[in-house]
Amino acid sequence: MAWLPKTENLRLRRLNLADLGIMLFVISLIVALLLAGRVAPEDVLAQSGPFHLSGWALPVDALRSLSRIFVAFLASLLFTIGYGYAAAYTKVGDKILVPLLDILQSVPVLGFLAASVGGFVLVFGPFWGFEAASVFAIFTAQAWNMTFAFYHTLRTLPKDLEEVTSVLRLSRWQRLIHFELPAAIIPLVLNSMMSFGGSWFFLAASESFLYQHRTIHLPGIGSYIAVAQQQGNTAALLTAMAALILMIVAVDQLFWRPLVAWSTKFKMGQVQSQEEPPSSFILTTLRRSSLIQSLRERVVMPIAESLEVRLIRRAVARPPARREWQWVSTALSFGLIGGTVVVAALGAAHVVASDLGLVPRAIVLGFYTLGRVLAAIVLGALWTVPVGVWVGMNARVLRWMQPLAQMAASFPANVLFPLIVVLFIRVGLNLNLGAIPLMMLGTQWYILFNVMAGAMAIPADLKEAGKVFGLRGARIWRELILPAIFPSLITGGITAAGGAWNASIVAEVVVWHGKTLAASGLGALITQSTASGNNVALLVAIVVMSCFVVATNRLLWRPLYRLAETRFHVEE
């Protein structure tokens, strides 16, 4: 083939094992997705009988659930960019969109599901409506903190780089693509990882839900777990758990690790850090693969180029449309506010008409749950602080503990709740107290992580000074370690508290083998009203819980956080 250009020859020869691996992976992914997509809508809709717990269906189910999570993740990303942009660059943004996001963040995830199923079914019809509602529930578990991260990045962009984009006369689109998005990659990847980990937790609840007094089981590993719990099938539950662990590890290795390694490229600052940057075998393989390289050069880059040229022409033809954006975000926020007000008014009228005692009852239950949330955090801190400090200060232990703890954190502990509750019953612990350790299972990891990071960051000179002045035992804890890790402890506590409120919904009611155990609490009220289709009670419970979350944030966490930032800030 002498007529081929030389480089072409080279390319072909360099097609290596890695390329084969990539092709194999892509093909099998396509096949698997096709398999997973083969669901007859009638099966779901007509499902009155049992959902089959066949071990063979499990991998396909798992893939379906994974697809939903990824679709939700994509939606979260798009939402993040749009909402974050509008919030950061418009006048209404700061005053309305940001506080609104704060409230959205405190609404329990499952509340969105129950509230939205009806609407989605109306718009998309029964089958796709259920799917959309399920994806939407996962979306609500992911989107808010990603949006906050993006918004925060946009508000703290380096001034000089902003000036460069102006002097070079980049259009809004070019600014977004070449500056704002790259600048936000690292916080976005980190927050996406957390969001993604959080969405496993709601898999079971987001796939089987009540619609017009019928339980819908969407095919997926979440339904599998729900049904296994319902039937009290320990073997099926353990199998599902194993499958989940496998999925989490696979997604971590194949998706997140390469992303994290890639994101280091976007680190701000001019100094090359001394630390070993995170690396990923997959990323290196992808980068070195000639297949990917030529795909990049021949397909991706030309398309990107021509798209950009087109966008510039439009931008040049029309001067930056600030007012249009203003209009979009004004409409968006007034729509949201108007909608919320109308819904709230209707809801309030409905509540008053049906049950007067509902609101006070929900508030009392809220205090029970608040007690559990705080107990879970205090108890969690009791063991995570010493362990976290020990690990954080021992580089060798840290190396193998960190990934392990990460895995434990993203593992949806609620899958195991029924098995643990069976144990509780044996030792005579009722769920009113038992819900606390259940909530801890899901939330203590956040504290552990942050304490580990805090202990790791204690400056060496402070440690040495402590030694020189003979600080030992309890005194070194009081004088050095506790003050130094205080800010990270608070950050961990805030995250854990958010998680614990959400966890209360799944921890305060446990179903096993057809029996239902419930604690008295707001989380239980939400689950039970969902299960019984009592939308009024559900609405009240959700609103009350959101109020509790906002109130504890304002009254407890924010002052603590401010204290941490001012008093206990260790200068680098």
């Binding site: 380096p158 000036e163 102006s166 002097v167 070079l168 980049l170 070449h178 680190k267 701000m268 510039i312």
Partner: protein, 437 residues
């Protein structure tokens, strides 16, 4: 010299900022000057003189409160299309390679890939970056990074090249090397740039590179003088004419009208330079060692410091009545000499007396504390007084300095946790001898 065409001009530029206290503060006041075709102009001024703001107004990044920027006698609004800019901090995108950074601006012009590559590679070669096209900024040294900054500006082939302290983040040798390279490109007309406008605080840099220096005053910035620099290139720093020019500009810069002392009630308090008591005593000891009086130029040399860093310290010394600057010389006063030779405790007493007489703001704080029944006042109430006239950042910095001086003089104590200023029990009586407790 034949009259050349005026390329760029600023006409009565004024910039006001509104302070947190609500008062507008003037940063730039009626600034007018022109840049001719083929001219290399430097803007010289002490720190805080708003010279970077001036450059940003010319670039169209900041809108003036009044006045206008003209290009070939046409008013320019929005981002100035005829300029490119080089930044003090380099301002490179860390995720783009050298070549991608250089090409970024060309992308907004909608050039084809081929054309972009050709133009960027030509500039990269010219500026001495070949071989580094694919490197990321993190992999480069400071000097190489600023070369990328130059390449990114030059590839746009601007008529006017704006530079904001482009060499001040570099070490001495690298800066000198880069200055020479840039000057060579300019003098040999290897770049199509028609004029260069550079902001700097280094007088030597201005005299070394420019055809003319526009000298700005401080608070607000006005044009103090325009000094033509007619020495032929390449200029030698040891040249008598060079030294004379530098000295002349030094004197113009430091011949500030003495600000009338004013208490808060009577208007804007004199700005307190952010200099800690430690640096103050160090400077006074040094001046004493040098015989109590010395040439500013020599002093800067002795300390290996830039004018930018030296001036605030001298200002503080002058404010406290410990020394003064006259016609390019810094000298100690009687009190200053006594201070230099006193013991640690005696120094504190001297400092306290002179501070109370010469720094009205400090006297005011002390007075308020004595009047207060608990001798304890929140710092924010004093901060507000500053914020009527200064930005939040400046006010905090001035307050911090006053607290530092007050602590050193044992005039006051400060509790950071409650943000309160108070009198310690043993110093509440103004006549008590400090340190006797």
């Amino acid at each position: 010299m034949a009259k050349r065409q005026t390329l760029l001009s600023v006409d009565a530029l004024t910039k006001d900022y509104t302070m947190p206290g609500g008062n507008p503060v003037r940063v730039l006041d009626q600034i007018s000057f022109g840049v001719e075709d083929g001219e290399f102009v430097t803007i010289l001024g002490p720190s805080g003189s708003g010279k970077s703001t001036l450059l940003r107004i010319i670039a169209g990044l900041v809108t003036p409160s009044s006045g206008e920027v003209r290009y070939l006698d046409q008013p320019v609004s929005g981002v100035n299309p005829h300029v490119a800019m080089v930044f003090q901090s380099f301002a490179l995108f860390p995720w783009l390679t050298v070549q991608e950074n250089v090409e970024l601006g060309l992308k907004s012009r909608g050039l084809s890939v081929k054309e972009r590559h050709e133009r960027s590679l030509r500039v990269i070669d010219m500026i001495g970056l070949d071989g580094f096209e694919g490197a990321y900024p993190k992999e480069l040294s400071g000097g190489m990074r600023q070369r990328v900054g130059f390449a990114r500006a030059l590839v746009m082939e601007p008529d006017v090249l704006l530079m904001d302290e482009p060499f001040s983040a570099l070490d001495v040798l690298t800066a000198e090397n880069l200055r020479r390279d840039l000057l060579e490109l300019w003098l040999e007309k290897r770049i199509p740039t028609k004029a260069v406008l550079i902001v700097t605080h280094s007088i030597e840099e201005a005299v070394y590179m420019g055809d003319r220096a526009v000298i700005l005053s401080r608070e607000p910035a006005r044009v103090l003088a325009e000094v033509p620099i007619l020495l032929p290139h390449w200029r030698e720093r040891e040249d008598v004419r060079f030294v004379r020019l530098v000295d002349q500009i030094y004197q113009t810069l430091t011949a500030r009208p003495v600000a009338a002392d004013s208490v808060f009630a009577r208007g804007r308090p004199a700005p307190v330079p952010a200099v800690r008591a430690g640096s103050l005593t160090g400077m006074i000891e040094l001046l004493d060692d040098l015989g109590g009086s010395t040439d500013l130029y020599r002093l800067a040399d002795e300390l290996n410091m830039d004018l930018e860093d030296l001036l605030p310290i001298l200002e503080a010394v002058e404010m406290l009545g410990l020394g003064r600057v006259r016609e390019g010389d810094a000298q100690l006063t009687e009190t200053g000499r006594a201070f230099a030779q006193a013991t640690v405790l005696r120094r504190k007493e001297l400092f306290r007396d002179t501070a109370l007489t010469n720094v009205p703001a400090l006297a005011h704080i002390r007075h308020q504390l004595e009047r207060h029944p608990q001798h304890r006042v929140g710092a924010e109430s004093f901060l507000e007084l500053f914020e009527r006239y200064y930005s939040a950042e400046d006010s905090r910095s001035q307050m911090e300095t006053l607290i530092d001086w007050g602590r050193y003089a044992e005039l006051l104590a400060y509790d950071q946790e409650t943000d309160q200023i108070y009198l310690e029990a043993e110093t509440a009586d103004p006549k008590a001898v400090p340190g006797s407790a």
